[in-house]
């Protein structure tokens, strides 16, 4: 693969996103590709299958439109997640009604199984065994097997058409570095998709400026890099709920 293309806007980064594509969306609190998701919201893309930790909620802020909004707008066909519905009765309603009336499919997956299925997709491993979920509804219909006297279920790999990634640093070769807990699903999702589009917090540096020992995702996986522009969303202030924006 040649070096990743570097584009100047989020809209350019997601241009040509095909209908009926599958999309990996990282984030567990921090580490969400907020700006790419808002740009995807502005395209007409529909019929998505998404792979993410949770489904989330709708946002009134156009710059914070994300998976919850796409789901509620009927643009998502299937969600694969560790949280497909709120556990709080008071917040029930996000995706449940759509699932109930058949317009949305859901696949609920234990979080570690979800992570390992993604990692396996990036590893060319079609299936593996895990103890998670044995003896519960989530193992229903799955193949069970004993190893060393303990029961495991077989789980299969996930691989997507697209991954949207949020990185802290990147170089022109596409090498990525993440910061603290913003790492979460990013490195594994970056290996498990055909098109890997990355929004970057810091200025993109020349190849060679990141120590090869400190790279979290090798650049060979990366298709497109875009720096978060001035005014773009860096993160959400948890106290105020307001977006904290890129200033320079």
């Amino acid at each position: 693969m040649p070096r990743p293309r570097i584009v100047m806007s989020m809209d350019e980064a997601v241009a040509g996103f095909a209908d009926n594509s599958s999309l990996m969306i990282p984030g567990f609190g921090p580490g969400q590709p907020t700006n790419l998701l808002a740009a995807l919201w502005r395209t007409p893309a529909t019929g998505l299958t998404t792979i993410s930790n949770g489904v989330g909620f709708e946002s009134a802020d156009e710059d914070l439109k994300g998976l919850g909004d796409l789901v509620m707008a009927g643009r998502v066909t299937k969600v694969i997640a560790a949280f497909t519905a709120s556990t709080r009765p008071s917040r029930t309603g996000t995706a449940e009604a759509l699932v109930a009336n058949g317009t949305l499919k859901a696949e609920l997956v234990p979080q570690g199984t979800l992570a390992e299925r993604i990692r396996s997709g990036g590893a060319g491993v079609p299936a593996f065994y895990t103890p998670a979920g044995v003896g519960t509804e989530t193992a229903t219909g799955k193949e069970h097997r004993e190893f060393g006297g303990r029961t495991f279920v077989m789980e299969t790999a996930l691989f997507a058409d697209y991954a949207f990634i949020r990185a802290w640093k990147a170089d022109t070769a596409g090498n990525l570095v993440f910061r603290r807990a913003a790492r979460n699903f990013n490195p594994i999702m970056a290996t498990a998709a055909r098109n890997v589009i990355v929004e970057v917090e810091q200025p993109i540096v020349e190849a060679g400026e990141i120590d090869p020992d400190q790279v979290h995702v090798p650049g060979i996986y990366v298709t497109t890099l875009v720096r978060i522009p001035v005014g773009g969303v860096l993160h959400i202030n948890r106290a105020s709920g307001m977006a904290v924006r890129q200033t320079a």
Partner: protein, 227 residues
């Protein structure tokens, strides 16, 4: 004269959980009451806190002005501090720690628990399996941690018991719970039995049994919680 009845609040329940951690344990704290445990651990315990999102070695909740938007616990929203020697891994590597069996105890919230060590914490209905719910990492943790501690209110808001002979909600794991800390009691789960170990101020064993949906065996060491 009997002490006034005083259920434990969330912080006190977290403090009881903290008292039940052994030296040098690797501990995972789930969303809810458990995430508060990090504020009650002492440096002498040398506990390493592990979070699903790959933070290994975090400390107490961040105070005002200390918050780093990129450092959160399993809640994904609470800012925490990092202890010296902390390390970050990605989500798959984080669950490798869990699945390999390195977590000495996972502390989770729950809706129901039974004397066989089964518990329910991910789904509030018994509707047929419809792929809706919030599992998070609870099933991975419950299937592989050496012990499961639960923190939960003793009863539902409607006054129904949560400690039952058998969970009526879909279970998160069919076994593994060893300790239940509620607002009224500390209950060990051993050999298929609930063993009432401690009570909240003012509550007698009879008071607690009356709001419990399963038989409680009274520990010879039954005593008032000390928090």
């Amino acid at each position: 004269m009997a002490e006034e009845k005083q259920p434990l609040n969330r912080e006190q329940m977290a403090a009881v959980l903290a008292q039940n951690m052994g030296y040098g344990w690797i501990v995972n704290l789930g969303i809810g009451i458990p995430t508060n445990v990090s504020n009650f651990l002492t440096p002498e315990q040398e506990i390493v806190l592990h979070s699903e999102n790959g933070v290994i070695g975090y400390g107490r909740l961040a105070g005002e002005g200390e918050e780093d938007p990129d450092i959160v616990n399993a809640s994904a929203t609470q800012s925490v501090t990092l202890n010296p020697g902390a390390a970050i891994v990605h989500h798959a590597d984080s669950f490798n720690v869990i699945r390999r069996g390195m977590i000495d105890v996972t502390c989770l919230g729950a809706y129901q628990v039974a004397p066989d060590g089964s518990f329910a914490n991910w789904k509030i209905t018994t509707e047929p399996w419809n792929n809706l719910g919030g599992i998070g990492g609870a099933m991975d943790l419950a299937s592989s941690a050496k012990q499961i501690y639960l923190a939960m209110d003793h009863q539902t808001r409607d006054g129904e018991p949560r400690l039952l002979e058998k969970c009526s909600l879909p279970v998160t794991a069919p076994s593994g719970v060893t300790l239940v800390v509620t607002n009224l009691a500390v209950v060990a789960v051993r050999n298929g039995k609930f063993i009432l170990e401690q009570h909240a101020p003012g509550y007698s064993a009879e008071d607690i049994q009356a709001v419990t949906g399963a038989r409680l065996e009274i520990s010879p060491d039954f005593r008032r919680v000390s928090v």
